[in-house]
Chain length 376, copies 2
């Protein structure tokens, strides 16, 4: 994997670049739609390409490990083949879901015991097994096994957890470096900075991660309930330490405004369930602001959902029709809103990239943050 | 509206034809996907065109009247405009849903009082108001207001109900003929043959309907629980009486085998929720037979869903992937299965048409009925 830094903004830390993988090149900054169980919910793979113009999508190791399971994924020739997606993919480590979704678990130095949220069966994830699992899933970018601390989290727990995450990282790297991709293409391992909202821990963690010299680096443990200002503060601290010549991935962030702010702090990659989850609840992100499509005010508004972003779905279906489908609990409502929101997110990071390259990112960002945060 | 009979099979009553409407030409025999509330569930309008190759879709008057309501539909410029569909449409009369879905109702000579299944509000449908409602919805083909008798239904009720349906038809025609389309194109009214499973009533009803001389004629009250043999017997009786130079629409039918049998009895148009409803439950109709995609046997079957019908969705996604999505209750499962099943239904009637025109419909039908009824 190769990262080419193309342009650095002069007034902010924003940068644009190209991340070259064996499944194609990703232009950064980029947003990665989340395809939890091998599907970006309510969206066809061809729609991810044609409408949304997704360059890379995510899979969740925890979900895929439980269902369809490693045996099926290996027989299929990996997740790309299984779902029919030939562009880059990234899988998380499963850590976050083990801590948030799974039943009673035990965290030990060795690894984590947990119960499946599907059938209650017992499972064990360790740094080594999580590397093996992600080798079998076969994403282009795979993540180290870490503990994502909740918010708030006391200092002593945050420090101990971070230190264990670091020790787990070394074990991940040992296993990862001793193995190779199963399907004829390369995979890269990204380590994850933790340290909750404590500056000294974040600095310590970023320095530890930076010196590992991996292909890219991630920032975890943010967007877990802390105020946005704290998220920005931690992100700024960490991006200043992480190497400039490697992509930086801020995990699980966020709103359109969050993403613009963090691009300006030097982040290159984002993922979040917000555009798809909120779509299913009738919340639309548009170039003019945020819409609750259930609102009576859209009942007879026959104008297109959003003409600015230039995709067929958002330019064709009207607000009134989408409102009707949403109120009527029709599946097509989730389909349209998911395509729209994801198209909007990809449009937004594409615009950010264009403005970084044009040299006017700072002023564009300021006006755009205001726009996309407006409640219509 | 113009119906051109193109070819008559020599061994069966099957025929092929073209039905010309102001929104385009329909090649018969045809299957019409059901778009209850202004959406064919889980399917985008562009998918109806490109993948499924739907030539005409249905809307349900009962649902559309309640939601989004006539005011919105009229402001939108009719249902075509509201949902973004420029090909032909047909609406039912709402009668079936009033009797099957709505709360406590009263059937009188004047009309039917019913409660909305959404909010319990009180409504009244009469032959005249149902014509007005369908004028506002604006489908190319609209249906007379009838009572669809349940099965079983005693003779005396069936006779009285049929007689009222006939009187209602005259009122429908009076209103329909005294009004015109609201949106600059023409609408046609189809009357409906009733009479339950009683031969003399079916004959009497078919004769009454035939002599009205409308643009097309429908057969209602079948596929409501009676044995398939009775459905075929009634259909055969009725098609022999309905004019040959007008399209014949068998309402709410049915399985692939039912459709093939009824094509051979001289039916030209079909609609049914089966392909979409069963898709959402994991039942697939394929050119090789019926698949329960939840079955363990498809777990590692990476072959495409169905290559024979030639559409992208059925040729690309594998059975194993669709099984995984179905078991995981992912929305994409409903999307893929709905596109597949509808594509299959349209493929099936297209093949039937091709074989009628080639002159070998009878033998093709016999082998195909066997195939499509096989449980895989």
């Amino acid at each position: 994997m190769k990262f080419v830094l193309e342009k650095k903004d002069t007034q902010t830390q924003a940068r644009s670049g190209s991340l070259v993988t064996d499944h194609g090149t990703i232009q950064t900054p980029i947003f990665m739609p989340v395809g939890t169980a091998g599907t970006v919910k309510a969206v066809h793979q061809r729609e991810l390409k044609k409408d949304i113009q997704a360059q890379i999508i995510l899979g969740n190791t925890y979900h895929l490990y439980l269902r369809p399971g490693l045996d099926t994924l290996e027989k299929a020739g990996g997740l790309h083949q299984f779902i029919g997606w030939d562009r880059p993919m990234l899988t998380d480590s499963g850590g976050y879901q083990v801590f948030s979704l799974a039943g009673t678990r035990k965290i030990k130095e060795e690894g984590v015991t947990f119960k499946s949220h599907i059938d209650g069966s017992n499972h064990f994830f360790a740094p080594e097994s999580v590397m093996d699992i992600q080798r079998t899933i076969g994403a282009d970018i795979i993540m180290a096994f870490d503990e994502c601390t909740p918010y708030p989290c006391d200092y002593s727990y945050a420090r101990q957890s971070m230190e264990m995450t670091h020790r787990w990282l070394l074990r991940c790297q040992d296993r990862f470096d001793a193995t190779e991709g199963k399907y004829g293409y390369n995979q890269s391992l990204f380590p994850i900075v933790q340290g909750s909202v404590y500056k000294d821990l974040r600095v310590q963690s970023a320095e530890f991660i930076a010196k590992q010299g991996r292909d890219g680096n991630a920032i975890g443990g943010l967007s877990v309930g802390e105020p946005a200002e704290l998220m920005y503060e931690m992100t700024e601290l960490v991006t200043a330490i992480l190497p400039a010549d490697k992509p930086r991935y801020l995990m699980g962030v966020g709103t359109p405004a969050n993403i613009l702010e963090c691009i300006s702090l030097g982040v290159d990659m984002f993922d979040c369930v917000m555009p798809t989850r909120n779509a299913r609840n009738g919340m639309l992100f548009t170039s003019e602001g945020i819409i609750n499509i259930r609102n009576e005010k859209w009942k007879d508004d026959f104008s297109p959902i959003d003409l600015a972003i230039g995709n067929e779905v958002s330019s064709t279906y009207s607000k009134a029709y989408l409102r009707h489908l949403t109120v009527s609990k029709e599946i097509l409502a989730a389909q349209i809103a998911s395509i729209h929101n994801l198209s909007f997110y990809l449009w937004l990071v594409g615009e950010a990239r264009a403005h970084i390259q044009a040299g006017d990112f700072g002023s564009w960002k300021a006006s755009m943050v205001k726009k996309v945060s407006t409640r219509l």
